[in-house]
Symmetry: C2
Subunit: 140 residues, 2 copies
DNA sequence: TTGTTTACTTGAGTGCATCAAGGATCATTG
DNA sequence: CAATGATCCTTGATGCACTCAAGTAAACAA
């Protein structure tokens, strides 16, 4: 399990609550991926393939090196969850797309990762709106 | 940079806000560690050594394998940020403690990781209380 | 055509994480 | 007290994430 990104000494209740949220969220994400024998990174990439797209687009969206995507996609391909087809319009590029099995696994992952849904579900609609507003304001 | 733990298709505004928060938080934590040439895991362990303590206690608190802690502490020791002394009361055990330089780096990390402070600081005291209450309720 | 940029891959290196196995020490029990 | 078992930690092996440097191939521009 990944080590938490813990604030050493939270200087307020709100900070501590933020940290707890992030920690529980991250662990839940990892656990949901593990249920399907996926790493968090694999689940992440698989989840961004609702549309077929190029490696570069994935790397840019995820803010990491292209060679990192190459490896993750290669593993997803080996698992039969993704295909990497040549792009007819640009033979340098590859188009990545989920296979049917990739779609199924992705759907099962979305179902297994209940944390965000459950957490939000504990709040009334009004409270949900308040939380959203507060988080948006805190994010600046 | 670590890939985000992104919800594939957030089913509500609140869920999307939660995800954004977690993503920004994680990236900020990683960036603060990187400024000091630390990995997130190293910063995490270093931050939990306000008191000298055993390897096992660290592993338990962080929810990971003891051998994982062995490696991370070994690297921190090689960096001169931590010492690993024999425990006089139990010669199987080791007591890990920050060196003066470890204290300094840890303090600089706490200073560099401004995200949580800054985010909370954008809210009024009342709003901070509301946020704390909402997050606690959402966490169940 | 020549040169440059773009898209991706490969290879090397580091670190995190887990598991299996082992050594040393403590603790218990017969 | 000696044997047994549990505890604390380390070692070794493996897999994955991540980054950087370097390379290939194709597109593009002059």
């Amino acid at each position: 399990m990944a080590l938490p990104n813990g604030p050493v000494t939270p200087s307020s209740e709100a900070e501590a609550a933020l940290f707890d949220l992030v920690d529980v969220y991250d662990r839940a994400y990892e656990a949901a991926a593990a249920e399907l024998s996926l790493s968090p990174a694999q689940a992440c990439v698989l989840g961004r393939l609702d549309e077929r797209r190029g490696m570069g687009a994935l790397a840019e969206e995820l803010g990491c090196d292209a060679s990192n995507i190459t490896q993750i996609v290669a593993r997803l391909e080996a698992l039969g969850l993704v295909t990497r087809e040549p792009n007819p319009r640009d033979r340098r590029a590859r188009l990545v797309a989920r296979t049917p099995r990739g779609n199924e696994i992705n759907h099962r992952f979305a179902t297994a990762f209940t944390f965000a849904r459950t957490a939000v579900g504990r709040l009334s609609p009004d409270e949900q709106d308040q939380l959203t507003a507060l988080l948006r304001k805190a994010l600046g």
